[in-house]
């Protein structure tokens, strides 16, 4: 038992050592997977922001019937299980599915769309809350200084910018760290749809711990690095 534990520990230490070597030497596989992850998650967040912010503005700044229900729905969808969403998307874009004719299954585009859907509730809920928390006097202030309706919406958007930035960063972190959607609709095809999380899961299963550890370190660095950078920017603004 003790022998086994020592062997396991040795493997992990060796894995760490190799992982550092892989990162430092700029290993092409590690670089390829990392860049694909950044591209896929970045594109997903961009799409989610493009359609999510207008919805958030509507929910944050306008009053209409059913607003509370829609807000509640987006709040609830924040916690959607990624494997569940991955399965739904798989069934939709599978060649026999409703959107099968688009031939999206096991492509980076499928992962982008899936992750965009996954993080949209985060963008909408966080941004709507940020806009709602802007003092209502800001709208009146902008108006009395001569702003048109578009201009005072923009003024509110600017005041809520920190909250919207937080929403975007949280969305990116969720997208880059999720496994279910990328695995189900991407298929982890090496050199084509493999991303950080899917490769970590699959390589660990295959016993290639050093590659997994190096990718996990990169994943942590990305998530913490971006959060830290945003934190610093916000602190400087304040």
């Amino acid at each position: 038992m003790i022998m086994w534990r020592n062997r396991e520990l040795d493997e992990i230490i060796e894995g760490f050592s190799k992982a550092i070597q892989l990162i430092v030497s700029g290993d092409s596989t590690v670089l390829d997977i990392t860049l694909r992850s950044l591209y896929v998650s970045g594109a997903a967040v961009l799409i989610a922001t493009l359609w999510g912010i207008p919805i958030a503005m509507l929910l944050g700044l306008k009053n209409f019937r059913g607003k509370l229900f829609i807000k509640g729905l987006f709040n609830a969808l924040i916690g959607i299980p990624t494997v569940g969403l991955g399965l739904i998307l798989y069934l939709l874009i599978h060649r026999t599915g409703v959107l099968g004719f688009l031939h999206l299954l096991y492509t980076p585009t499928a992962i982008i769309i899936g992750e965009a859907v996954l993080v949209t509730p985060i963008v909408v809920s966080f941004s709507a809350n940020a806009m709602e928390s802007v003092s209502p006097e800001i709208q009146d202030l902008a108006k009395t200084l001569g702003a048109t309706e578009d201009q005072y919406f923009f003024a509110v958007f600017r005041e809520a910018f920190d909250g919207i930035l937080l929403a975007t960063v949280s969305s990116f972190n969720r997208a880059v760290a999720e496994l279910g959607v990328a695995q189900m609709v991407g298929g982890n095809i090496s050199g084509f749809t493999s991303v950080l999380t899917t490769t970590i899961a699959n390589e660990t299963a295959k016993g290639n711990v050093s590659l997994s550890i190096s990718l996990a370190i990169i994943l942590f660095l990305i998530v913490f690095g971006i959060s830290l950078a945003v934190n610093l920017i916000q602190r400087r603004r304040k």
Partner: protein, 352 residues
């Protein structure tokens, strides 16, 4: 006539905020709306600022009836400074420049104008500082500069000095007077401060329950309205007493509990006196001064209202309010139960 309200009413759900108000604002004047909280002052200002629509009645600006079509264009000629100071989460420069940028003024002119108006409110070196990091008084001065820099014909001020410390309040009042004299800006000032209403404006309207009960020049309103004035304005240090002329040409008003207050106002018989809380000096020891009124009392309450502190002093069963800075409170080590002297000049006492 610069602005005019004709039969303007405003209701929120079932609550009546304004009830058939008729009002004319002449170009170049300072007009005060005096009334207690909830009397409709802010609603009236918001309607004049064209950011609130009346439920009924008409608003005229420069002789033009305000309609959906021209409201945006006319709104450019009026601006409002709110009671709750609001600043954009950016630098002082960007705050003051905001309205000028909307008007597409060239950048060089904006720079010069922002600099000039920050100078006017005594904040020249503040351009690069973040507005939300400034004190309440400084933020209010930024708000005033941001409004005045637009050179609008009409500026609406909602309780511009409420909760400001005496220094900032004096600066704001000075700037209002200067802008009125030198730029010809027309001001409508909403206030519940009877002393501000008496000293600053040329005309006053008394507002109660959404109706204008009386309007006229400061002298007319303060002399003819007599006792009803006190019911309009939520004024501290208001007492009723019997006024008699003194040998020195002043008036001595004996209020209940045997307290005598000397005033330079000339009244006789039953009178009401007002003492501005900012004009009363509070001290722990008696000191020699030219002030005619010295009262001894005990502190019963200390209310921290942000930039200023209100100290309530019991003098023979009558409650006097004194407004001081937080620093004075700390320096004098004042606390509830402290015995203090209140000193104020006869000219600081208004009597009607």
């Amino acid at each position: 006539m610069l602005a005019e309200l004709r039969n303007v009413s405003k209701t929120y759900n079932d609550a009546v905020a304004l009830d058939n108000v008729n009002l004319e604002i002449s170009e170049g004047e300072i007009f005060a709306l005096l009334g207690p909280s909830g009397s409709g002052k802010t609603t009236l200002l918001r309607i004049l600022a064209l950011i609130e629509k009346p439920s009924s009645g008409q608003v005229y600006f420069n002789g033009t009836k305000v309609t959906e079509k021209n409201i945006q264009e006319l709104r450019m000629q009026t601006t409002m400074v709110f009671q709750k100071t609001t600043v954009f989460n950016t630098t002082v420069y960007n705050n003051v420049a905001y309205g000028l940028k909307l008007r597409k003024i060239p950048e060089n002119t904006i720079k010069k104008q922002v600099s000039d108006f920050l100078d006017l409110v005594g904040l020249r070196s503040f351009e690069k500082r973040y507005a939300n990091r400034l004190s309440g008084g400084e933020q209010q001065r930024v708000a005033l500069a941001r409004a005045l820099v637009l050179h609008t014909k009409l500026v609406l001020l909602d309780e511009p000095t409420a909760n400001l410390d005496p220094r900032n309040a004096a600066i704001v009042e000075d700037v209002i007077g200067k802008a009125n004299r030198e730029l010809g800006t027309t001001f409508v000032v909403a206030t519940h401060n009877i002393f501000q209403a008496k000293s600053l404006p040329q005309r006053i309207a008394l507002l109660r329950n959404g109706r204008i009960e009386q309007s006229g020049t400061a002298v007319e309103v303060f002399s003819s309205l007599s006792r009803t004035l006190t019911s309009f304005a939520a004024v501290e240090n208001t007492f009723i007493g019997e006024a008699k002329p003194s040998d020195e040409g002043t008036t001595v008003v004996e209020i209940e509990s045997g307290i005598q207050i000397e005033t330079t106002s000339q009244v006789q018989g039953k009178a009401q006196v007002f003492i501005d809380p900012r004009e009363v000096i509070v001290s722990k020891k008696l000191f020699a001064s030219s002030a005619r009124n010295i009262l001894k009392g005990r502190i019963v309450e200390i209310v921290d209202t942000g930039n200023v502190v209100k100290v309530k002093v019991d003098v023979k069963g009558k409650l006097f309010t004194v407004q001081i800075t937080r620093r004075s409170l700390v320096d004098l080590k004042l606390q509830v139960g402290s015995d203090v002297f209140l000193t104020f000049k006869a000219s600081s006492v208004q009597a009607i």
